[in-house]
């Protein structure tokens, strides 16, 4: 329940933050203190939570691999598994090409 309330509050804070920035139309150097403070609160909090959830996912997965081991069907590369990985490939290439252009 706490996750739900926290999530809803976070969504509202982010939407509010975006709408304030869109309305202000101020360049970065003229940002007001509350906007800067909100940014310093939102980004570390969301990044921390993101890392926490992926760590929990991997812990759960590793734990179950220790129990069910060879019984698990999770380690088979099917069509869906390959599509899921290749989904990110165009974006990775886009980033890589821009980085290579800069170097």
């Amino acid at each position: 329940m706490a996750h739900l309330v926290g999530g809803i509050i976070l969504v509202f804070i982010v939407i509010l933050w975006i709408s304030v920035l869109q309305r202000l139309e101020l360049p970065v150097r003229r940002w007001t203190l509350p906007v800067i403070l909100a940014g310093l609160f939102i980004f570390p909090l969301l990044t921390g939570l993101l890392v926490n959830w992926i760590a929990e996912m991997e812990c759960t997965r590793n734990e179950m691999e220790a129990i069910i081991g060879a019984v698990s069907q999770d380690d088979q590369w099917s069509f869906g598994q390959i599509v899921a990985v290749f989904l990110w490939l165009p974006l990775c290439f886009q980033i890589l090409l821009h980085v290579m252009d800069r170097v």
């Binding site: 869109q22 129990i67 069910i68 821009h98």
Partner: protein, 241 residues
């Protein structure tokens, strides 16, 4: 090994019978069907928990950090860093593409997870899906939060903002659906407890114990689990009574 007197091949069959017939003794049934205990813990749906999907989740988190806070920080510091117009345009384009790819990946996963949690889901899958859905929702939120940083001429149009907020709402409503249906899932209630009691010959995974509120993991335990040292935790934490 399945016993010839076992009438249930899946956990769904067993739970459906227990719900229909309250006089049925879960412990007695589990004693006849030892395979059932393995199903209580694991072997989730490979469409959501497979090796490729897991790799994709790790790529998603890495790209979120690159296209989210890192890209935002570089954009804000573009003048001190003396970035040219082409680079800033490329950053804006990368951010926009990441949003679309992320939405195309997150929304089907969130809807599939919401459907899965409406069934009798094993403990492992129940725990994994909740963490997965929270991870994806926070990933999307983190990248959406960067939109506010972009100034003219890279500022997103109001129509584009409406589309992004629409993605965000679908993602979060599916996330809420997963968390609520996981909390009300039969595996998370009295039946789940009856099954964990009945399967005492089998180890109780930490994820199941965490769901049932039986253990609180320390940071050291989490690190050991994260780096694949499940066996260490098994030896030290799991109940084998």
């Amino acid at each position: 090994m399945s016993n010839s007197s076992c009438f249930f091949s899946t956990i769904e069959d067993l739970l459906a019978h227990v719900i229909r017939d309250s006089t049925l003794n879960v412990t007695a049934q589990v004693a006849l069907c030892s395979d059932i205990c393995l199903q209580v813990w694991g072997n989730g749906n490979p469409d959501l928990l497979g090796i490729g999907l897991n790799l994709s989740y790790l790529i998603q988190v890495t790209l979120t950090i690159i296209c989210g806070p890192l890209l935002g920080a570089i954009y804000v510091l573009r003048r001190p860093l003396r970035l040219d117009r082409t680079t800033v345009e490329a950053m804006s384009s990368i951010h926009d593409n990441f949003l679309d790819t992320s939405a195309a990946f997150n929304i089907p996963v969130a809807i599939a997870a919401a459907i899965r949690t409406h069934h009798f889901t094993p403990f492992y899958e129940l725990a994994f899906l909740q963490f997965l859905i929270l991870m994806q929702a926070h990933s999307f939120l983190l990248v959406v939060a960067i939109i506010g940083l972009f100034e003219r001429p890279y500022r997103r149009s109001i129509r584009r903002l409406h589309v992004v907020i629409f993605y965000l709402l679908i993602n979060f409503s599916s996330c809420i659906e997963v968390v609520v249906s996981a909390a009300t899932n039969p595996m998370n209630g009295v039946l789940g407890r009856a099954l964990t009691d009945a399967c005492k010959l089998w180890v109780i995974p930490v994820s199941a114990q965490t769901i049932l509120g039986q253990v609180t993991l320390t940071t050291k335990d989490r690190f050991q689990l994260f780096f694949g040292r499940g066996q260490v935790i098994k030896d030290t934490l799991w109940h084998t009574s």
